[in-house]
C-alpha cells in the first residue's frame, strides 16, 4: 500500500520578505545602469548642472523604492486589495507595451523609454508588496496554501509566456515585413520587457488570482501610527514620482526659457596687426573694427528640457555691429532634449543690423514635451550685439 505522508503545514514567516544582499546588489547595479544610461548622453559627459534634475529624480525614485518596500502589507490595506493588485498588473502590462512602442531598434534607450522603465521598477516594487513577493519567496517562508497558489500561478503564467514568445518566433518566420517588426520589437526595450516577463509574469498572475483578503476583524488591534505615517508618505512619494515628469513637461511650455552667462570665446589678440580678429567684449571704441565670438546655452524647461548652444560672432567699430565680411553663420540647432521634442524652424540665424548699429541674430524653434505632445511652445532666441560689442541673449 502506498501511503502518502502528509506534509506539516509550515508556519508562514511574519512580515514582509526583506530583500537580501543579492537584492540590494541588484538594486545598486540597476541604479548604476540607469544612471549611466540617463545621464551620460544627456550631460554630454561633463555638464553637471544639467543632470542635477535627473539625478534628483533618480534619488527620489530610489527613496520611494525604499519607502514602499518598507511598508508592511496589513490585512485590508489598500495595496492588498484585489482591485489594486489587478490595477498594478494592468499598469505593468501597459508600461511594457509602452516600453516596446517607444524604444528604437538600436541599443540606445530614448528618454521616454527610460522613464517608462523607471515606472516599471516602481510598479514591480508595488507588485512585490501587493503579493508579499510570494512568487519568489524561499520554500520555507510560505505555507502549503501559498505554495499551491504560487505553483498554480506559474502554471498559468507559463502558457502566457509561451504564447508571447511563440508569436515573436512565428513573426520572425512568416515574412520579411514581420521579421522587421520582430526585430523592432526585440530592440533594446523589447529585450527588457522579455526579461520583465521572464521574472515577473508569475507574480503578475499571482496578483490576479490571489483571493481577496478577509476583512479585518472589528476587534483587531489598530495599526501602529508610525506604520500609517510611513504608508502615507509612501503614497505621496509614489504620486510625486509619477506626477513630476508631467509637471516638468508642463514647465517646458510655462517656464520662460533661460540662458547661461555669455562666454567670450575670442582668441587672444594677435601680435601682428592688419587681420580681422580678436577683441574684447568690453566694447572699447576703436578706429579699426574689433571682432569677437561668444557662446551661451539657452534652455527651455527644467528637468524635462531642451538646450541649444548659441554661437555668435560679429565685428563692431563703435558705430555699428555686423557679421564679419566674407563669413556666413552656420546652422546651430536645438539638441534633442530630455523628454522634449524639438522642431527646428530656423537653425541658421537671421542677421539684421538695426539703424542704431545693433546686430541681432535670431533662431527659432518649437519645443514640445514628449509626455504631453499636445502642448508646444515657439521659442525665439535672439543674440543682440550692440555697436560697442556688448552682448545680450534674449529668449
Amino acid at each position: 500500500m502506498n501511503s502518502t505522508p502528509v506534509r506539516e503545514p509550515r508556519r508562514r514567516r511574519h512580515g514582509a520578505h526583506r530583500p537580501g544582499r543579492a537584492g540590494v546588489l541588484l538594486a545598486l547595479a540597476v541604479a548604476l545602469l540607469v544612471l549611466l544610461i540617463v545621464t551620460l548622453p544627456a550631460a554630454g559627459g561633463s555638464d553637471i548642472p544639467s543632470i542635477l534634475p535627473t539625478l534628483g529624480y533618480l534619488m527620489l525614485v530610489f527613496v520611494t523604492w525604499g519607502m514602499v518596500a518598507g511598508v508592511r502589507r496589513e490585512p485590508g490595506s489598500w495595496l492588498g486589495r484585489r482591485a489594486v493588485r489587478r490595477g498594478v498588473v494592468a499598469a505593468i502590462a501597459a508600461d511594457c507595451v509602452g516600453v516596446v512602442a517607444t524604444s528604437s531598434p538600436g541599443a540606445q534607450l530614448g528618454s521616454a523609454t527610460v522613464l517608462l522603465l523607471l515606472f516599471l521598477v516602481l510598479l514591480n516594487i508595488a507588485l512585490g508588496r501587493a503579493t508579499e513577493r510570494m512568487a519568489t519567496a524561499p520554500d520555507g517562508s510560505v505555507d502549503e496554501r501559498q505554495e499551491a497558489l504560487r505553483n498554480h500561478a506559474h502554471r498559468l503564467a507559463y502558457p502566457v509566456f509561451a504564447v508571447i514568445v511563440g508569436a515573436l518566433l512565428i513573426a520572425d518566420v512568416v515574412s520579411t515585413q514581420s521579421r522587421t517588426w520582430t526585430e523592432h520589437a526585440l530592440g533594446s526595450g523589447g529585450l527588457l520587457v522579455f526579461l520583465e516577463l521572464l521574472f515577473v509574469l508569475p507574480g503578475m498572475v499571482l496578483a490576479v488570482i490571489e483571493p481577496a483578503p478577509p476583512p479585518p476583524e472589528p476587534d483587531a488591534p489598530a495599526r501602529p501610527r508610525a506604520a500609517n505615517r510611513q504608508a502615507r508618505v509612501a503614497v505621496v512619494l509614489v504620486v510625486m514620482v509619477f506626477a513630476l515628469p508631467f509637471l516638468a513637461s508642463v514647465g517646458v511650455v510655462v517656464l520662460p526659457p533661460h540662458s547661461s552667462a555669455v562666454i567670450d570665446t575670442s582668441p587672444p589678440p594677435p601680435q601682428v596687426s592688419g587681420t580681422p580678429g580678436p577683441s574684447s567684449t568690453g566694447g572699447q571704441q576703436a578706429t579699426s573694427p574689433q571682432c569677437g565670438s561668444f557662446m551661451s546655452t539657452v534652455s527651455a524647461g527644467w528637468g524635462v528640457s531642451a538646450e541649444m548652444p548659441v554661437f555668435a560672432y560679429a565685428c563692431w567699430d563703435g558705430h555699428r555691429a555686423s557679421a564679419p565680411s566674407g563669413n556666413t553663420y552656420g546652422p546651430v540647432c536645438w539638441a534633442p532634449g530630455t523628454l522634449v521634442a524639438v522642431t527646428a524652424e530656423q537653425c541658421t540665424p537671421s542677421a539684421v543690423t538695426a539703424s542704431d548699429g545693433t546686430l541681432t541674430l535670431t533662431w527659432r524653434a518649437t519645443v514640445s514635451p514628449e509626455l504631453l505632445p499636445f502642448l508646444n511652445r515657439r521659442v525665439e532666441v535672439k543674440v543682440i550685439i550692440d555697436k560697442n560689442g556688448q552682448v545680450e541673449v534674449h529668449t
Binding site: T4, R150, N151, H154, A157, F161, A162, V165, R179
Partner: protein, 328 residues
Amino acid sequence: MTRSLRRVAVVAVAAVTAVLASALPLHGFGIVVVVVLAGLDILLLQATGWLAFRRGSALDERQTALRDRAYRRGFRLIGLAVLLLGLVWFVSYVFVAQDATVSAGAGIDSGIAGRVLVVAAELVTMMATCVVAWREDGSPESDGVAAGAGQGRNGQWVAWLLLPAIVAAWLLAVAWGPPQSVARGSISIIGGGPASGWTCHEFGGGTMIGAEFGATVGLRAYVCWDGTDAFVWGDPAVPPPASLNHYFKPFTALEFDGANTLETGCGMDNLSDFASVGATTCTERIDAGGTMHYTVSARVSPLPFGIASREVSVALVVTRTGKVLEQP
C-alpha cells in the same frame, strides 16, 4: 523509464540544445539536430506521461501539485538557461571567429536564426517536462510520473509521427516555399571611393529559402560609380571595367587586393544551417549605358546529392549615376 535514464535524456536534451544555441556551423545538417532533439523530447514526454501537458481534470491532486511545481521550477530555469546558452554562444563564437577575417553573414540581416528559434521553442515547451523527468527532490510524489506514463500507452506511437512531419514540413519549405528577401546587415560604408570623382556605397542583402529553416544566399558588394560606369570594387574575382584602367596607376595591386576585399565577397554572407549552399558564382556585367548588373547565384540543397535543390539568384543593378534599379 527509470529516473537515471530520464536524467540521461534530460542531459542529452541540454547538450543538443547547447549545440543549436552555439555559433558552431551546422553545414546544412541542422535538421538532423532538430530531429534528434524532437526525438529526445518525445522520449521524455512519454516517460513523464505527458504530465506537463495534461488537463487538470485528468490528474489527481498529487499529480497536479507535481505538475504545478515543475512549472514553477521550469519558469525559473528558463532564465538560467537563457544566460547559460548565451554564454555557450559567446564562447563558441570566440572560438569560431578566431581564424575568420570577417564574420559570415554580417552583410545581411536575417533576423533570428532558425536554430535559435528552435532553442527558444524548446525552452518554452519542454522545460517543465524536463523538470518532471529530472525530479531531483525525490518527493513522495514519485509515483506521479509512473502513473502518468502508464496512461495512453496504446497511442504512444502517434507521437513519433511528429518526426517525419517535421522533416516533411522542412523539406516542403526549403524545396518549394516562397523565397523571402533579406535586408541589409549592420555593415554600412558610404562615401568617396578610392579615387576622386568616385562615389561608393556598400550594398547588402540576400534571399532566404525555407524561412529561417533553410539557407540564405547573401550578397555583399561595394559598388562605385564615376558618372561613366558603375562597378563592383574590392573583389579580385570581379575585375573592374577596362575603362577604368587609367585610375589604377596611383593604386598598387596590394591596395586593390587588400583592404577593400572585405567589402565585396562572393558567398561571404551565405548562411547554411539547415540546407547546404553550393556552386556560388558572382558575375558582373556592365552594359553600354554604364549600368552595372551584379548577380550572385547559388544552389540550395536540403538533401545530399542535390536532391530537391533549387537555384537562387540575387541581383543588384546600379546605374552609372548611382541610382539603384534592383537590389535584394
